[in-house]
Amino acid sequence: MTSKRTMFLFTLPALIVLGVFFVYPIVLTVQMSFTNFTGVGQADPVGLANYERIVSRDRYPAALWVTVKFTTVVVLIQTMAGLFFAAMLHRLPAIRNLCRAALFTPAMMSFVVVGYVWQFIYSPFSGGLNAALTQVGLEGWTRGWLGDPDTALLAIAFAHVWMFTGYTTAIFLAGYANIPAEIEEAGRLDNASSWQRFRYLEVPLLAPSFTINIMLSTIGTLKTFELPFIMTRGGPDGATRTLSLEIIGQLFGKYRFGFASSLSIVMLVIVIAVAVFQNWYLRRREDVS
C-alpha cells in the first residue's frame, strides 16, 4: 500500500506538468472550439457551428487533402532518401562522419533561411533551377515552380526533404550500428551480394528505425506550416495551403480563435489517429521482422 502511495507521489510532479501544460490547453481548446471567440472579450457559445462550417465548405477539406498529399510525399521520399544515404555511408566508413554532419546541416538551419533560399532557387526569372535546366539544354522544363499549382507542393516538399533527410539518415545510421556484425558476416560467408544483404538482412533489422523515422516525420509533416508559409503563403490558389497554415490564417489574419480551435482539434484527432495506426502497424512489423 505504502509502495503504491510512494509511486503515486513520485509520479505526481509529472502528472501535474502533463495536466497543466498538455491536458488543460487541450481541454481549453475543445471548449473554445464551440465558441466564436475573437481572441479578446466575451466568447459566445455557437454549438457545433464551427465544426459544421469545416465540413460544409470546400476550403477546409481541401486544406486537409493538401496536408495529406504533402505528408505522403515527404514521408515517402525522405524515408527512402535517408535509407539510401545511410546504406551508402554504412558501406563507406571513411567518409561516414563527414557526410553525416554535412547531411545534417540543413536540419539545423532556420526555416526562414531555407524558405527564402529555395524561393529564389525556384524563381521563374533568375532562379537557379531554371538557369541550370537551361544550361543543360532542358529549357522546355523551365517554369515558375512555386507559381504553378501542379508543381508548387512538390517543390516545397523537395525543400522539406532536403532539409530533413540528414535527420532521417542519422536515425538509420544509429539503426545500422545496432545490427550485430555477426549477421553481416554470415551474409558475406553465404556469398550474399551487397543488394541481397541490404534487402534481406539490413532492411528487416532496421524495422525499429523505420518506425521512429516514419512516426516522427509523419507527425512533424502533418503539422508543418513554416515552408508553405514562407515560400508560397498557401498559394497558388490554395495549392499549398496546409491545415496548419489555415489555422494560422484564421487566428491572426481573421481573429477567429474559436473557429481556429475547432480546426486544431480536427488536426489533433487526425494526428493522433495516424500516429496510433502507424505505431500499431510498424510495431507489428518489427515483431514479424
Binding site: 466564436n36 475573437t38 481572441g39 479578446v40 472579450g41 466575451q42 457551428a49 465548405r57 527564402y116 524561393q119 529564389f120 524563381s123 521563374p124 526569372f125 533568375s126 515558375g144 512555386l146 507559381g147 504553378d148 499549382p149 508548387a152 515560400m231 508560397t232 503563403r233 498557401g234 498559394g235 497558388p236 490558389d237 490554395g238 490564417g249 487566428l251 491572426f252 489574419g253 481573421k254 481573429y255
Partner: protein, 411 residues
C-alpha cells in the same frame, strides 16, 4: 564646516520639497507601435523627443512590437489589466479590441476629429464611439521604371487603360517585360480599383452581401480588362500568377527586369535607395484620365480603456494630430495626412500619384476601412491567382462568385 553641513541639508530638503509636486505629476507613458524601429523609423524617435521637450511632465517609453506580434502580445496585456497606455492600431484591431471594451473612446469633440474628411470619419466610427486617432494614409498605385519606358520613347507613366496597353505593346516589342502582375496583391489592386471606380454599388454594400460582385457590371468589366491586358502583352499570367508579391516581385522590379508593378507607396523609401533605379509612383490606370489613387488608411493611435494615465495618453494622441508634428511622420513614411489639410510627405517620385489625388481620383481601399471582410481579401488573392493561371478557362462568374461566397462565408 559646522555651519556648512546643516545648511547643505537644509538646501537639499528645500529642493526636495520644491521637486515633490513635479515628481507627483510626472508620468511615464507606455507606448507600443509596429513602427519606430530601424527598418521603419516613421520619425517616431524625433517626434517623441520633441513631445517630451514640450511636455516635461510626461516621459514616453516606446516599445516596438511588430504588426503580427501585436496580435499575440497585446491582447493578454489588455485583458490582464496591464495594458500599454497608447497603442498603434489599425481598423481590424480597433474592431476587435474596441468591441471588447478594451479601448478608450477618444470622443468626437476634439479638434482633430472635425478635420477628418466625412467619408473617412464615418469609416472610423465604431457606433457612437471613436477608438482611433488616424495618423496616415498610404497610396497604392503603379510603380513605373521610367528608365525602361524612356528606352521605348515613353516619357510619362500611363494613367489610362489605353495608355497602359500602348505602353505594354511598345515595351513587349522591345523585349522588355512590361508588368509584374501577381495574383496576390498586384492584380487585385488593379481589378478592385477599376471595379470600384465604375461600380454603381457602394463598396460597403458589396462587402456586406447587399450587392453581388458577380452581378456587378463594373467588376465584370474589370475581369474583362485583365484579359485585355494579357492580350496586350502586359503580363504572362501563367508565369506570374503565383509569384510572391512581397519578395520575388519586388526584387524583380528593383532589378530592372520589369517596367511596371502595382504595389504600395511604403516601398518608395527602399526603392529610392537603389542606385540607378529611375522610377515614379503613379496611380493605377483606369477609365478616368487621372487613373485611380487607391488610398490605404493605415495606422493610428488608440488609448487603452484601463490605462492609468488616460489624461497624458490623450495629450500624446492629440499632440500627434497637430499638422507640424504629423508632418515629420508623413515625410518619413511617404504618406498622406488623413486630415483635410491635404498635407503629404511624398517625394518627387510620387508626383503622378499626387496629381491623381488632386484630380479627385481617390478610392479608399475597402479592407482597411472594414467595408469588406478580411477573409475576402485572401479569397480575392487566391481566386485571382487561379484566374491568371488560365484566363481563358475561367469565366468572370467563376471568379466573382468566389468573392460573393467569401462574403457570405464571413460570420
Amino acid at each position: 564646516m559646522k555651519t556648512t553641513i546643516p545648511r547643505a541639508f537644509g538646501m537639499a530638503a528645500m529642493a526636495a520639497c520644491l521637486a515633490a509636486p513635479v515628481l507627483a505629476q510626472s508620468v511615464t507613458l507606455d507606448v507600443t507601435a509596429w513602427k519606430g524601429n530601424e527598418a521603419e523609423p516613421a520619425g517616431l524617435a524625433e517626434l517623441i523627443e520633441k513631445f517630451e521637450g514640450e511636455h516635461p511632465d510626461i516621459a514616453v517609453e516606446l516599445s516596438y512590437i511588430g504588426r503580427l506580434d501585436t496580435d499575440t502580445v497585446i491582447p493578454p496585456r489588455l485583458q490582464g489589466g496591464d495594458p500599454p497606455d497608447v497603442m498603434m492600431t489599425d481598423m481590424p484591431l480597433v474592431e476587435i479590441w474596441g468591441d471588447a471594451g478594451l479601448l478608450a473612446d477618444l470622443g468626437k469633440d476634439s479638434e482633430w476629429w472635425g478635420r477628418i474628411p466625412a467619408d473617412l470619419q464615418s469609416a472610423l466610427e465604431s457606433g457612437d464611439a471613436t477608438y482611433i486617432m488616424p495618423l496616415e494614409v498610404i497610396g497604392m498605385g503603379n510603380f513605373v521604371n521610367m528608365g525602361l519606358l524612356k528606352k521605348v520613347g515613353i516619357e510619362e507613366a500611363p494613367t489610362t487603360i489605353e495608355e497602359l496597353k500602348e505602353t505594354c505593346g511598345a515595351l513587349a516589342d522591345a523585349e522588355i517585360n512590361p508588368m509584374i502582375f501577381t495574383g496576390g496583391f498586384s492584380a487585385p489592386l488593379l481589378l478592385i480599383a477599376n471595379g470600384l471606380e465604375g461600380s454603381d454599388d457602394a463598396a460597403a454594400a458589396l462587402g456586406s452581401g447587399d450587392a453581388s460582385f458577380a452581378e456587378n457590371a463594373a467588376f465584370d468589366a474589370g475581369v474583362d480588362l485583365i484579359r485585355a491586358l494579357e492580350e496586350a502583352r502586359c503580363f504572362d499570367g501563367r508565369q506570374q500568377a503565383g509569384l510572391d508579391p512581397w519578395s520575388t516581385a519586388l526584387s524583380e522590379f528593383t532589378g530592372g527586369n520589369f517596367a511596371m508593378m502595382p504595389q504600395g507607396a511604403w516601398n518608395i523609401g527602399a526603392f529610392r535607395e537603389i542606385e540607378g533605379l529611375d522610377f515614379v509612383f503613379a496611380p493605377l490606370p483606369s477609365a478616368r484620365d487621372s487613373g485611380v489613387a487607391l488610398d490605404l488608411f493605415g495606422i493610428g493611435w488608440s488609448v487603452a480603456s484601463a490605462s492609468e494615465n488616460r489624461e497624458a495618453a490623450q495629450t500624446f494622441v492629440e499632440w500627434f494630430a497637430k499638422p507640424e508634428n504629423l508632418q515629420v511622420m508623413l515625410d518619413a513614411e511617404s504618406a498622406y495626412s488623413p486630415f483635410d489639410d491635404g498635407a503629404s510627405g511624398t517625394p518627387e517620385q510620387a508626383r503622378p500619384y499626387d496629381e491623381a489625388r488632386a484630380a479627385g481620383g481617390v478610392i479608399n481601399y475597402p479592407f482597411a476601412l472594414l467595408q469588406w471582410p478580411k477573409s475576402l481579401e485572401g479569397e480575392i488573392w487566391d481566386s485571382m491567382t487561379g484566374f491568371l493561371l488560365d484566363t481563358s478557362a475561367r469565366t468572370n462568374e467563376d471568379l466573382l462568385s468566389r468573392w460573393d461566397e467569401a462574403v457570405e462565408d464571413d460570420f
